[in-house]
C-alpha cells in the first residue's frame, strides 16, 4: 500500500511518494530528449519469425565485432613503412630489418597481451562478415525480397558487399607481410592493366614505383576511417529502410501484403537479436582462440624478390584470383602499347560484370513481368524457377572460380595435375553453370508439380491398399486448409505474348523490337512454370477424393485401410493362424 493513498481520515493530507533516483533520472532525460514517445511505437514494432531472417544479423554483429577488435588493434599498430630492426620475442625474425607496420603486427601477435587473439578474431570476423552478407543476399534473392519497394535496399546491400571486400583487402594488405605485399603487387598489376591510364593510376596510388613508402599509411586511412564510415552509413540506411518498409514475411493464414505477423521488438526480438550478438561473438572468439589465421610471422616481411607457394587472397577475393589464374595469356600490341587483356578482363571487367548482373536483376525482373505492385509476402524459391536457377548458376560459377584460385592447393591435396585443373576450369566456368541452371530450373518446376499434386490429390500417407482385384494403390489424404492456403498463396505468372508484327490495319505493333525482346524473355523466364490449380480444379480434386472415399466405404475398406490394426496392439482376425 503506497503512501499516496490516504489510509486514515486524519488531518494529514496524503503526499506523493518521492520518486526513486533511477526514475527521476529517466524522467529528467525524457523531459529533454522525448525518447519515450518515439520508443513507444518502435519498441513494439513487429518482426516475423524465421531463421533465414537472421542471416543479415550475423553480418551486422560481425561488423560490431570488427569495430571492437579493430579499435584494440589500432592502439598498437603503426601504419608506417619506415625501416626498423625487429627486436621482439619471435626468435626466427629477431634482428631482421622490416617495416614498422610488420614489426608492430609481430608485436601485437607476440608481445601485446591478448593481441594475437584480437588479431585472429578481427580476421575471422572479417571473413564471416562478408560470408554472412553473401548468405543474407542469397536469402533475399531466393525469396524475392528484393521486389518493389525494396530494390534500393538491394542496391545498398550490393554496395555493402563491394565495400566489405575492398575493406577486407585493405586490411589484408596492412601488416606488410609477404602475402599482403604479394596481394598488393597483384592489385598494382590490375590497376596497371587499365588501358592508357594504368601506369599513371598505379603511380598515383603508390606515390611512385611499387611498393614505395606511401601505400600502407594510405590503406590504413581507408581501412579505419573512410571505408568503415561508408559501411556504417550504408548499414544505417539499410536498416532504416528495413524499418520503413517493414520486414517481409512468409505467406500463411492471416498474413497478407498489408500486415506483419510476428513478435514485438521488445521483449522478444531484443532478446533474440541481443542473444545472437553474444553467440556470434562467442563463435568468433572461439575461432580466434583455437584456429590459426594469417600467421604473418611465418610469411616474413614483404620482400619483392620473394613469393611463396600457397599465395592466395582471402576467400572473398578468390573469384578474382581464379579468373586471373585460368585466363589465357592474351595481349595485344598497338602503337608500341601493350594491352593486357589477360589481366584487364579477369581483373577489372569480369568482377564488375558479375556484380552488375546481380544488382540489375530486380530491375530486369520488374521490367519483364511489368509488375508494379508492392510485395511483402515472400516467394518460395521453387515458385521462381528461373531466378532460383540463376542464383544456383552464379553460386556454381563463384565456387568454380574460387576453386580455380586455389588450383595449386587442390593439386597438392588431391594429387592432381595443376595444368589439368586449369584446363578443366577454363571449360567448366562456361559449361557447368549452364548445366546447373537447367537442372535447378527443372528441379524447381518438378517441386511446383509436386505442390499441385498435394493440393489436388492430398498428401501421401504411406499406406498401401490392396484392392479386391489384387491391385495396389497408395492412399492419399487431403491436406489441412492452412497448408493448402499457404501453398496457394502465390500469384499466377503472366507470360507476355509476342504481338503480331502488324495488326489488321497494317499498323506495326507498339513497342517494336524491345517489346519483342521482353515478350521472349517473359516466355523464357516464366513460360515453363507450373501455375497453381484453379478453384475449379481444386473442387474437382476434392470431389474425386470424396468419391474415392465413398467407394472405399462401400467396399468396407474404410476402417481397415489405415494399417493400424497391424501394429500389434489391436486384435486382428485370423491372427492366431500366424503362430502355427
Amino acid at each position: 500500500m503506497s503512501e499516496s493513498v490516504a489510509k486514515t481520515n486524519g488531518p494529514n493530507a496524503a503526499v506523493t511518494k518521492k520518486p526513486t533516483r533511477g526514475a527521476s533520472a529517466v524522467t529528467w532525460a525524457d523531459d529533454r530528449l522525448g525518447l519515450a514517445t518515439a520508443a513507444k511505437k518502435n519498441l513494439r514494432k513487429i518482426f516475423p519469425d524465421h531463421w533465414s531472417f537472421m542471416l543479415g544479423e550475423i553480418a551486422l554483429w560481425s561488423f560490431v565485432i570488427l569495430l571492437i577488435t579493430g579499435v584494440f588493434l589500432t592502439f598498437w599498430f603503426k601504419p608506417s613503412m619506415g625501416e626498423v630492426e625487429y627486436m621482439g620475442s619471435y626468435a626466427q625474425l629477431r634482428g631482421l630489418h622490416m617495416s614498422e607496420a610488420y614489426a608492430s603486427t609481430l608485436d601485437i601477435s607476440f608481445d601485446v597481451r591478448g593481441g594475437l587473439l584480437m588479431r585472429q578474431m578481427h580476421h575471422w570476423s572479417a571473413m564471416l562478415f562478408i560470408a554472412a552478407m553473401l548468405v543474407h543476399m542469397m536469402r533475399v534473392f531466393l525469396t524475392g525480397a528484393f521486389r518493389k519497394p525494396r530494390e534500393l535496399n538491394w542496391i545498398i546491400g550490393g554496395l555493402l558487399i563491394l565495400l566489405g571486400i575492398i575493406e577486407g583487402f585493405a586490411g589484408y594488405s596492412l601488416p606488410d607481410d609477404l602475402l599482403s605485399g604479394t596481394g598488393l603487387r597483384i592489385a598494382d598489376g590490375l590497376v596497371k592493366a587499365t588501358p592508357v591510364l594504368g601506369t599513371y593510376m598505379s603511380f598515383f596510388m603508390f606515390g611512385g614505383e611499387f611498393p614505395g613508402d606511401d601505400i600502407i599509411p594510405r590503406l590504413y586511412m581507408a581501412h579505419i576511417l573512410l571505408i568503415p564510415g561508408l559501411i556504417l552509413a550504408l548499414i544505417a540506411a539499410h536498416m532504416l529502410l528495413l524499418v520503413y518498409h517493414k520486414h517481409t514475411q512468409w505467406p500463411g493464414p492471416g498474413r497478407t501484403e498489408e500486415n506483419v505477423v510476428g513478435f514485438p521488438m521488445l521483449p522478444v526480438y531484443a532478446a533474440k537479436a541481443g542473444g545472437f550478438f553474444f553467440i556470434t561473438f562467442g563463435v568468433t572468439a572461439l575461432m580466434g582462440g583455437l584456429m590459426s589465421i594469417n600467421p604473418v610471422w611465418k610469411y616474413g616481411p614483404y620482400n619483392p624478390s620473394q613469393v611463396t607457394a600457397g599465395s592466395q587472397p582471402d576467400w572473398y577475393m578468390g573469384i578474382a584470383e581464379g579468373l586471373l589464374r585460368i585466363m589465357p595469356g592474351w595481349e595485344t600490341s598497338i602503337f608500341g602499347v601493350t594491352l593486357s587483356w589477360n589481366v584487364f578482363i579477369p581483373g577489372q571487367l569480369m568482377p564488375i560484370i558479375l556484380l552488375a548482373m546481380v544488382l540489375a536483376w530486380p530491375f530486369l525482373e520488374a521490367w519483364v513481368t511489368g509488375d508494379k505492385r508492392e510485395h511483402h509476402l515472400l516467394q518460395r524459391p521453387r515458385n521462381a524457377p528461373t531466378r532460383t536457377a540463376f542464383l544456383a548458376a552464379m553460386i556454381t560459377l563463384y565456387g568454380l572460380l574460387w576453386a580455380a584460385g586455389g588450383n595449386d592447393i587442390l593439386a597438392v591435396i588431391f594429387h592432381l595435375n595443376l595444368n589439368h585443373i586449369t584446363y578443366f576450369m577454363r571449360g567448366a566456368v562456361f559449361v557447368v553453370p549452364i548445366l546447373v541452371f537447367m537442372l535447378t530450373r527443372r528441379w524447381c518446376i518438378s517441386l511446383q508439380r509436386q505442390d499441385n499434386e498435394t493440393l489436388l490429390h492430398g498428401y501421401e500417407t504411406g499406406i498401401i491398399m490392396r484392392s479386391a482385384e489384387g491391385g495396389y494403390t497408395e492412399r492419399h489424404l487431403p491436406i489441412s486448409p492452412e497448408a493448402a492456403y499457404t501453398l496457394t498463396a502465390r500469384d499466377r505468372d503472366t507470360v507476355h505474348e509476342v504481338e503480331a508484327g502488324v495488326d489488321e490495319n497494317g499498323v506495326p505493333a507498339s513497342g517494336g523490337r524491345i517489346a519483342a525482346v521482353r515478350a521472349r524473355l517473359s516466355q523464357a523466364m516464366y513460360g515453363h512454370n507450373v501455375q497453381k490449380p484453379t478453384a475449379q480444379e481444386l473442387d474437382e480434386g476434392h470431389h474425386h477424393a470424396e468419391d474415392e472415399h465413398a467407394h472405399e466405404i462401400e467396399a468396407g475398406l474404410d476402417h481397415s485401410a489405415d494399417g493400424h490394426q497391424f501394429d500389434g496392439r489391436h486384435p486382428v482376425e485370423g491372427e492366431e493362424l500366424r503362430s502355427h
Binding site: W51, L96, I279, H415
Partner: protein, 294 residues
C-alpha cells in the same frame, strides 16, 4: 665385500712389497709389451692384411651386385642410363655422386614403382647398409657430391648467439630460395604437369642437405657457389627451429594459407552461426499462461 677388499689389499700389498725386486723392471716391460699387442689385436681390423681400399672395393662390389638386380633395368648395367624408344627411361648415374643415391634410395624414391612425372616417396626398399653399398658403387662411376657429414648440415660449432643469427638468416634464405615451391612453412606446393614440391616437415636434415646439393626430380641444384655450406646449414637450422615452435595461433588447418582458412570460415563459422540462427528461430516466444484465480 669387506672380505674382497681385504684380499685385494692383500694382493696389492704383496705386489707392492716386491716392486723393488731385481726382476720387477723386466716383468713390467714384458707386461707392457703383451698388453700393447693384445690391445692392438683387439682394436685393429680383424683382418690385418685388409686395407681400407680393399674394404671399399668390397663395398663397391656388393653395391654393384645390388645395382644389377634392382637398378640396372632403367639405369643400365654400368649406370650409363637407358634410352627407350620414347625418350629416356633412366638417366645416366655417372657423376651423380653418393649423396644422390643416399637421398633417392634412402627416402624410398628409388627404385621407382612405375615411370611417371616424378618418383613417388614410398617405403624404403633397401636397408641402410645396402644403401651405403649402392652409394659406394654409384660414387665409383665418376666424381660427384659425397654423403655429407653431420657437421656439414648442423650448426654444432656455433655459439648460441651465432646460431640464432644463422636461424634468422636461414629463414630469409628459405623464403627467398625455397618457399616459392615448398610453401612458406614447407607444407609443399604444386608444380606444373602434376609434379610436386614435397612437404619438408618430415624430411631429415641430411636428406634436405643432399636434396640441395644434388637437385633431385624438379629441384634445381643449389651449388656451394650459389648457396654456401653454412647457408644450407642455416636453412636446415631454420626449418628445425620452426618445428620446435608451438602452433601460436591454434589449429593450423594444414598450413596452406588463405584457401583453407576460407573453407573453415564457411564450414565452421557460417555453418555454426546459421545453425544457431535456426535454433533461435525454432524457440518461439511462447509464454506459459498460468491460470490465475480471480
Amino acid at each position: 665385500m669387506r672380505l674382497l677388499n681385504r684380499s685385494v689389499n692383500g694382493l696389492a700389498g704383496r705386489i707392492s712389497r716386491r716392486r723393488r725386486g731385481p726382476v720387477a723392471g723386466l716383468l713390467v716391460l714384458l707386461l707392457g709389451l703383451v698388453l700393447t699387442g693384445t690391445m692392438y689385436a683387439a682394436f685393429s681390423p680383424a683382418n690385418a692384411s685388409r686395407t681400407t681400399a680393399q674394404a671399399d672395393e668390397q663395398l663397391i662390389q656388393e653395391g654393384r651386385e645390388l645395382f644389377l638386380v634392382g637398378c640396372s633395368f632403367c639405369h643400365g648395367q654400368n649406370g650409363e642410363g637407358v634410352r627407350s624408344d620414347n625418350g629416356q627411361l633412366g638417366p645416366s648415374l655417372v657423376g651423380v655422386g653418393a649423396a644422390s643415391v643416399d637421398f633417392q634410395v634412402g627416402t624410398g624414391r628409388m627404385p621407382m614403382q612405375q615411370p611417371g612425372q616424378q618418383a613417388a616417396v614410398k617405403k624404403k626398399a633397401y636397408t641402410d647398409e645396402e644403401t651405403e653399398a649402392l652409394a659406394a658403387y654409384v660414387a665409383s662411376l665418376g666424381p660427384g657430391p659425397a654423403i655429407p657429414e653431420e657437421s656439414e648440415y648442423t650448426l654444432d660449432g656455433l655459439s648460441e648467439d651465432e646460431r640464432r643469427e644463422a636461424v634468422v638468416n636461414g629463414g630469409q634464405l628459405f623464403l627467398t630460395n625455397c618457399s616459392a615451391c615448398h610453401n612458406f612453412e614447407g607444407s609443399g606446393g604444386a608444380m606444373p604437369q602434376g609434379k610436386v614440391a614435397l612437404p619438408l616437415r618430415d624430411s631429415t636434415e641430411k636428406h634436405i642437405y643432399e636434396a640441395m646439393i644434388t637437385g633431385p626430380q624438379q629441384m634445381p641444384v643449389f651449388a656451394d657457389s650459389v648457396l654456401g655450406p653454412e647457408d644450407k646449414a642455416s636453412i636446415i637450422a631454420f626449418l628445425e627451429s620452426t618445428k620446435e615452435n608451438p602452433d601460436y595461433g591454434g589449429f593450423e588447418m594444414g598450413g596452406l594459407g588463405p584457401v583453407s582458412e576460407g573453407m573453415f570460415a564457411w564450414l565452421v563459422g557460417i555453418g555454426s552461426l546459421v545453425g544457431f540462427a535456426y535454433w533461435i528461430a525454432a524457440h518461439s516466444a511462447r509464454s506459459k499462461r498460468q491460470e490465475t484465480s480471480a
